[in-house]
Protein backbone atom coordinates (compact mmCIF):
# COMPACT_ATOMS: atom_id res chain seq x y z
CA UNK A 1 0.00 0.00 0.00
CA UNK A 2 2.80 2.36 0.90
CA UNK A 3 4.59 1.50 -2.31
CA UNK A 4 1.49 2.44 -4.27
CA UNK A 5 1.43 5.86 -2.63
CA UNK A 6 5.10 6.26 -3.33
CA UNK A 7 4.42 5.38 -6.96
CA UNK A 8 1.68 7.98 -7.10
CA UNK A 9 4.00 10.57 -5.64
CA UNK A 10 6.67 9.74 -8.20
CA UNK A 11 4.14 10.04 -10.99
CA UNK A 12 2.91 13.42 -9.84
CA UNK A 13 6.14 14.96 -8.62
CA UNK A 14 8.71 13.50 -11.03
CA UNK A 15 7.24 11.97 -14.16
CA UNK A 16 4.66 14.64 -14.86
CA UNK A 17 7.11 17.61 -14.50
CA UNK A 18 9.73 15.83 -16.58
CA UNK A 19 7.21 15.09 -19.34
CA UNK A 20 5.98 18.67 -19.29
CA UNK A 21 9.48 20.12 -19.38
CA UNK A 22 10.54 17.91 -22.28
CA UNK A 23 7.42 18.59 -24.32
CA UNK A 24 7.70 22.34 -23.72
CA UNK A 25 11.26 22.19 -25.06
CA UNK A 26 10.11 20.41 -28.20
CA UNK A 27 7.30 22.91 -28.68
CA UNK A 28 9.64 25.85 -28.21
CA UNK A 29 12.03 24.42 -30.78
CA UNK A 30 9.21 23.87 -33.25
CA UNK A 31 7.97 27.42 -32.72
CA UNK A 32 11.50 28.72 -33.26
CA UNK A 33 11.71 27.08 -36.67
CA UNK A 34 8.54 28.70 -38.02
CA UNK A 35 9.84 32.30 -38.36
CA UNK A 36 13.03 31.04 -39.99
CA UNK A 37 11.09 29.03 -42.54
CA UNK A 38 8.86 32.00 -43.26
CA UNK A 39 11.88 34.24 -43.77
CA UNK A 40 13.44 31.66 -46.08
CA UNK A 41 10.20 31.50 -48.05
CA UNK A 42 10.22 35.29 -48.44
CA UNK A 43 13.85 35.28 -49.58
CA UNK A 44 13.19 32.50 -52.06
CA UNK A 45 10.23 34.42 -53.47
CA UNK A 46 12.32 37.59 -53.71
CA UNK A 47 15.18 35.68 -55.37
CA UNK A 48 12.78 34.21 -57.87
CA UNK A 49 11.42 37.67 -58.60
CA UNK A 50 14.94 39.04 -59.06
CA UNK A 51 15.58 36.40 -61.67
CA UNK A 52 12.67 37.62 -63.77
CA UNK A 53 15.21 39.73 -65.65
CA UNK A 54 17.19 36.64 -66.58
CA UNK A 55 14.99 36.27 -69.62
CA UNK A 56 16.45 39.53 -70.92
CA UNK A 57 19.77 37.71 -71.26
CA UNK A 58 18.41 36.32 -74.51
CA UNK A 59 18.11 39.89 -75.80
CA UNK A 60 21.56 40.70 -74.46
CA UNK A 61 22.96 37.64 -76.18
CA UNK A 62 21.48 38.70 -79.49
CA UNK A 63 22.68 42.29 -79.08
CA UNK A 64 26.19 41.15 -78.21
CA UNK A 65 26.24 38.96 -81.28
CA UNK A 66 25.05 41.87 -83.44
CA UNK A 67 27.60 44.24 -81.88
CA UNK A 68 30.47 41.84 -82.38
CA UNK A 69 29.33 41.32 -85.97
CA UNK A 70 29.34 45.10 -86.45
CA UNK A 71 32.78 45.36 -84.90
CA UNK A 72 33.97 42.60 -87.21
CA UNK A 73 32.66 44.53 -90.19
CA UNK A 74 34.43 47.70 -89.03
CA UNK A 75 37.57 45.70 -88.40
CA UNK A 76 37.43 44.27 -91.90
CA UNK A 77 37.04 47.75 -93.34
CA UNK A 78 39.92 49.08 -91.25
CA UNK A 79 42.02 46.14 -92.32
CA UNK A 80 41.50 47.22 -95.91
CA UNK A 81 41.95 50.95 -95.30
CA UNK A 82 44.97 50.96 -93.02
CA UNK A 83 48.37 49.61 -93.83
CA UNK A 84 49.98 47.05 -91.61
CA UNK A 85 52.65 48.18 -89.19
CA UNK A 86 55.30 45.95 -90.76
Amino acid sequence: MILWWIGDAVLLLVVLPVVVILLRGVLAAAKGIVPSVQEIAKVAAAGSKDLDAAALLLTTQQQVADTVAGVANYGGSLDVILDDAS
Partner: protein, 210 residues
Protein backbone atom coordinates in the same frame (compact mmCIF):
# COMPACT_ATOMS: atom_id res chain seq x y z
CA UNK B 1 -9.42 4.39 6.96
CA UNK B 2 -10.51 0.98 5.87
CA UNK B 3 -8.26 -0.89 3.46
CA UNK B 4 -10.84 -0.68 0.72
CA UNK B 5 -11.02 3.08 0.94
CA UNK B 6 -7.23 3.28 1.09
CA UNK B 7 -6.92 1.24 -2.09
CA UNK B 8 -9.60 3.33 -3.75
CA UNK B 9 -7.82 6.57 -2.80
CA UNK B 10 -4.46 5.33 -4.02
CA UNK B 11 -6.04 4.11 -7.25
CA UNK B 12 -7.81 7.41 -7.72
CA UNK B 13 -4.56 9.34 -7.28
CA UNK B 14 -2.86 7.04 -9.77
CA UNK B 15 -5.60 7.56 -12.31
CA UNK B 16 -5.41 11.32 -11.74
CA UNK B 17 -1.64 11.31 -12.25
CA UNK B 18 -1.89 9.26 -15.42
CA UNK B 19 -4.68 11.48 -16.65
CA UNK B 20 -2.58 14.61 -16.06
CA UNK B 21 0.35 13.08 -17.89
CA UNK B 22 -1.85 12.11 -20.83
CA UNK B 23 -3.38 15.59 -20.92
CA UNK B 24 0.06 17.17 -20.94
CA UNK B 25 1.14 14.83 -23.71
CA UNK B 26 -1.94 15.60 -25.76
CA UNK B 27 -1.67 19.36 -25.32
CA UNK B 28 2.00 19.66 -26.17
CA UNK B 29 2.00 17.05 -28.92
CA UNK B 30 -0.97 18.70 -30.62
CA UNK B 31 0.81 22.06 -30.36
CA UNK B 32 3.93 20.53 -31.89
CA UNK B 33 1.85 19.03 -34.68
CA UNK B 34 0.34 22.43 -35.43
CA UNK B 35 3.78 23.99 -35.56
CA UNK B 36 5.09 21.21 -37.78
CA UNK B 37 2.17 21.72 -40.15
CA UNK B 38 3.05 25.44 -40.32
CA UNK B 39 6.67 24.51 -41.00
CA UNK B 40 5.58 22.11 -43.73
CA UNK B 41 3.51 24.88 -45.35
CA UNK B 42 6.45 27.25 -45.20
CA UNK B 43 8.76 24.64 -46.69
CA UNK B 44 6.28 24.15 -49.53
CA UNK B 45 6.58 27.86 -50.30
CA UNK B 46 10.36 27.60 -50.08
CA UNK B 47 10.40 24.65 -52.44
CA UNK B 48 8.18 26.52 -54.88
CA UNK B 49 10.45 29.58 -54.77
CA UNK B 50 13.61 27.54 -55.13
CA UNK B 51 12.03 25.64 -58.00
CA UNK B 52 11.32 28.93 -59.78
CA UNK B 53 14.89 30.05 -59.15
CA UNK B 54 16.26 26.83 -60.60
CA UNK B 55 13.94 27.08 -63.57
CA UNK B 56 14.75 30.71 -64.31
CA UNK B 57 18.49 30.34 -63.81
CA UNK B 58 18.80 27.15 -65.83
CA UNK B 59 19.60 28.83 -69.19
CA UNK B 60 21.79 31.54 -67.64
CA UNK B 61 24.95 29.46 -67.74
CA UNK B 62 24.57 28.63 -71.41
CA UNK B 63 23.66 32.20 -72.39
CA UNK B 64 26.47 33.80 -70.40
CA UNK B 65 28.93 31.31 -71.84
CA UNK B 66 27.73 32.21 -75.31
CA UNK B 67 28.01 35.93 -74.58
CA UNK B 68 31.52 35.45 -73.26
CA UNK B 69 32.47 33.54 -76.38
CA UNK B 70 31.13 36.36 -78.54
CA UNK B 71 33.00 38.95 -76.51
CA UNK B 72 36.17 36.87 -76.61
CA UNK B 73 35.88 36.76 -80.38
CA UNK B 74 35.48 40.54 -80.43
CA UNK B 75 38.49 41.02 -78.16
CA UNK B 76 40.58 38.70 -80.32
CA UNK B 77 39.52 40.59 -83.41
CA UNK B 78 40.28 44.04 -81.99
CA UNK B 79 43.55 43.01 -80.37
CA UNK B 80 44.71 41.31 -83.54
CA UNK B 81 43.76 44.28 -85.66
CA UNK B 82 45.43 46.75 -83.29
CA UNK B 83 48.65 44.75 -83.14
CA UNK B 84 48.61 44.19 -86.89
CA UNK B 85 48.09 47.82 -87.75
CA UNK B 86 50.01 49.63 -85.02
CA UNK B 87 52.64 47.07 -84.15
CA UNK B 88 53.06 45.42 -80.79
CA UNK B 89 54.94 48.25 -79.08
CA UNK B 90 52.67 51.04 -80.26
CA UNK B 91 49.56 48.97 -79.56
CA UNK B 92 50.67 48.40 -75.99
CA UNK B 93 51.54 52.08 -75.67
CA UNK B 94 48.19 53.17 -77.05
CA UNK B 95 46.29 50.96 -74.62
CA UNK B 96 48.49 52.09 -71.75
CA UNK B 97 47.94 55.69 -72.77
CA UNK B 98 44.20 55.27 -72.49
CA UNK B 99 44.24 53.05 -69.42
CA UNK B 100 47.34 53.75 -67.34
CA UNK B 101 48.79 50.52 -66.04
CA UNK B 102 46.99 48.30 -68.54
CA UNK B 103 50.24 47.52 -70.33
CA UNK B 104 51.38 45.39 -67.41
CA UNK B 105 48.53 42.96 -68.06
CA UNK B 106 49.26 42.79 -71.76
CA UNK B 107 46.92 41.54 -74.45
CA UNK B 108 44.96 38.39 -73.87
CA UNK B 109 45.99 36.64 -77.06
CA UNK B 110 49.53 38.02 -77.13
CA UNK B 111 51.23 36.86 -73.95
CA UNK B 112 54.49 38.40 -75.07
CA UNK B 113 52.86 41.83 -74.96
CA UNK B 114 53.11 41.83 -71.17
CA UNK B 115 56.88 42.10 -71.44
CA UNK B 116 56.81 44.89 -74.03
CA UNK B 117 57.88 48.22 -72.65
CA UNK B 118 55.06 50.58 -73.45
CA UNK B 119 56.28 53.71 -75.22
CA UNK B 120 54.98 57.05 -74.09
CA UNK B 121 52.16 57.29 -76.50
CA UNK B 122 52.24 61.07 -76.55
CA UNK B 123 55.57 60.79 -78.36
CA UNK B 124 54.21 58.37 -80.92
CA UNK B 125 50.78 59.77 -81.64
CA UNK B 126 49.59 63.30 -81.38
CA UNK B 127 47.52 64.27 -78.42
CA UNK B 128 44.59 64.69 -80.75
CA UNK B 129 44.72 61.02 -81.74
CA UNK B 130 44.69 59.99 -78.12
CA UNK B 131 41.84 62.38 -77.44
CA UNK B 132 39.81 60.93 -80.27
CA UNK B 133 40.48 57.44 -78.99
CA UNK B 134 39.37 58.44 -75.55
CA UNK B 135 36.27 60.10 -76.92
CA UNK B 136 35.28 56.82 -78.44
CA UNK B 137 35.88 54.87 -75.27
CA UNK B 138 35.22 57.20 -72.41
CA UNK B 139 32.80 59.88 -73.44
CA UNK B 140 31.84 62.28 -71.95
CA UNK B 141 35.32 63.63 -72.01
CA UNK B 142 34.98 65.81 -68.94
CA UNK B 143 33.98 62.94 -66.70
CA UNK B 144 36.54 61.58 -64.32
CA UNK B 145 38.27 58.46 -65.58
CA UNK B 146 38.35 55.76 -62.88
CA UNK B 147 41.28 54.10 -64.59
CA UNK B 148 43.58 57.05 -64.15
CA UNK B 149 43.91 60.78 -64.11
CA UNK B 150 41.13 62.69 -65.77
CA UNK B 151 41.76 63.88 -69.25
CA UNK B 152 40.22 67.21 -68.41
CA UNK B 153 39.88 68.96 -65.16
CA UNK B 154 36.19 69.64 -64.93
CA UNK B 155 36.76 72.47 -62.48
CA UNK B 156 39.44 74.21 -64.49
CA UNK B 157 38.11 73.28 -67.88
CA UNK B 158 39.37 76.31 -69.75
CA UNK B 159 42.94 75.67 -68.76
CA UNK B 160 42.71 71.94 -69.28
CA UNK B 161 41.15 72.36 -72.69
CA UNK B 162 44.33 74.10 -73.84
CA UNK B 163 46.25 70.95 -73.00
CA UNK B 164 44.18 68.98 -75.48
CA UNK B 165 45.96 70.61 -78.37
CA UNK B 166 49.46 69.79 -79.55
CA UNK B 167 52.20 71.48 -77.60
CA UNK B 168 53.11 73.73 -80.51
CA UNK B 169 49.73 75.44 -80.32
CA UNK B 170 50.01 76.36 -76.68
CA UNK B 171 53.59 77.51 -76.51
CA UNK B 172 53.91 81.06 -75.45
CA UNK B 173 56.71 83.25 -74.11
CA UNK B 174 57.23 82.09 -70.63
CA UNK B 175 59.62 84.76 -69.26
CA UNK B 176 59.52 87.96 -71.20
CA UNK B 177 61.39 90.87 -69.65
CA UNK B 178 59.00 92.95 -67.71
CA UNK B 179 58.15 96.45 -68.89
CA UNK B 180 60.20 99.13 -67.12
CA UNK B 181 58.53 101.05 -64.39
CA UNK B 182 58.77 104.78 -64.95
CA UNK B 183 57.90 107.75 -62.85
CA UNK B 184 59.14 109.45 -59.78
CA UNK B 185 58.41 106.44 -57.62
CA UNK B 186 60.06 103.97 -60.00
CA UNK B 187 62.43 101.54 -58.29
CA UNK B 188 65.20 102.50 -60.68
CA UNK B 189 65.89 106.18 -61.04
CA UNK B 190 68.01 107.44 -63.87
CA UNK B 191 69.95 110.67 -63.86
CA UNK B 192 68.40 113.32 -65.94
CA UNK B 193 70.45 114.23 -68.91
CA UNK B 194 71.07 117.89 -69.37
CA UNK B 195 70.91 117.78 -73.09
CA UNK B 196 67.39 116.42 -73.12
CA UNK B 197 65.00 119.27 -73.54
CA UNK B 198 67.79 121.82 -73.92
CA UNK B 199 67.88 124.09 -76.98
CA UNK B 200 69.40 122.43 -79.96
CA UNK B 201 72.97 123.28 -80.44
CA UNK B 202 73.62 125.47 -83.38
CA UNK B 203 75.97 123.98 -85.84
CA UNK B 204 78.77 126.24 -87.09
CA UNK B 205 78.03 127.93 -90.31
CA UNK B 206 79.40 126.14 -93.28
CA UNK B 207 81.89 128.12 -95.26
CA UNK B 208 80.53 129.17 -98.56
CA UNK B 209 81.88 127.26 -101.54
CA UNK B 210 81.95 130.14 -103.85
Amino acid sequence: MTPVLAFAAAGGVTILAVLLIVLALVYYLVSVIVQLRTIAGGLDEVIAGVGEIVQKSAPVNEIVTNINEQLDAGVELLEGLLVQKAGMADAVGLVDGMYPGAAAAGFRNFPESASVKAPRIGEVYTRGTLTLARLGREAPIAAGNPAGPALRNVEGGSLAARLLYPEGRQERPKALPRSPVIGTDAPVQYEQRDDIGAPRKRLPDRPSVS
